[in-house]
Symmetry: C2
Subunit: 146 residues, 2 copies
DNA sequence: CAACAATCTGCAACGATTGTTGAGTAGCTC
DNA sequence: GAGCTACTCAACAATCGTTGCAGATTGTTG
């Protein structure tokens, strides 16, 4: 994702204001480009700015998503996750704990032939690999041998 | 998905009872193998059995999902959708209206190489094509020329 | 610096789903 | 067909993630 400075410019260019809250959110996303939930971003920013509201975090994340500066993922893990990585890529999702990791591999043949699109205009193609992460697998193992 | 008669057997085999409510739900899914939400199934069954409760529909759909007789899809469309089609297949999702269609095409090369799995045990691979369905595209067009 | 509009916050509300309770109904087995 | 027990219903509450709202606050522009 863009640097906080670049995002600041983009916000101004759109007539959006650059508040301290937003700057902290930019920084939090830039420092920690995982797939945070809104709650996670809130927790991170709250540490430095205890008065910020969760509402503001949602607001800013939505603004960023609307501008295409991050992607909102809906992976059925309960809450939305925001992905600052804009390069086309795919995800590994742990069904146990909801963890999301990026897949570092090209996946070929993802183009849906015209005659299979049923009239849809396709904007994005996502591949989700669901399974169990190493930590959860270990936890399962230890509880079953117990 | 299995026929109502087969589901009846499977329920009995599991020690679950086969009530008229459940039978109607089986039939509704069998007749109309779209990707209904719980609410949609409820609406469909309510037409014939006005006293059925949404609670019962959720219960039965969850039972079916637990038995593997249908798949619960989480596509970020607000509510869960239940997919009676058990063959490995993929989905077209309309970002505007939330409609979900099956993709009738094999997609090759979906195997994630061992060295890209980051320790995950992969159970399932889903491909989601997101875009705009013909109806929503038409609606957009007519409202913009207006 | 003043003024205006955008933003922030705290709280209430929302939609989807599940828990609970208790009373009534009715599968299923013998 | 009787009895056990699962199931259903209804009504309501609660949960969780997210968004709407009102009033106070504050970037930003001239």
């Amino acid at each position: 994702m863009k640097s906080p400075a670049e995002l600041t410019e983009r916000f101004r260019a759109q007539g959006l204001r650059v508040t301290p809250q937003r700057q902290r959110i930019f920084a939090a996303l830039y420092d920690n480009p995982e797939h945070p939930t809104a709650e996670a971003v809130y927790a991170s920013v709250s540490a430095e700015m205890p008065t910020i509201s969760l509402r503001t975090v949602y607001q800013t994340l939505n603004d960023l998503a609307a501008m295409g500066e991050l992607v909102q993922l809906e992976l059925g893990t309960g809450s939305a996750r925001f992905d600052p990585n804009l390069d086309g890529h795919h995800h590994l999702v742990c069904d146990q704990c909801g963890k999301v990791l990026d897949v570092d591999a090209e996946i070929a043949g993802l183009d849906l032939p015209e005659d299979r699109r049923q009239g849809f205009v396709i904007d994005a193609t996502e591949v989700v690999f669901r399974g169990t992460c190493p930590q959860c697998a270990a936890r399962e193992l230890s509880s079953s041998t117990h």
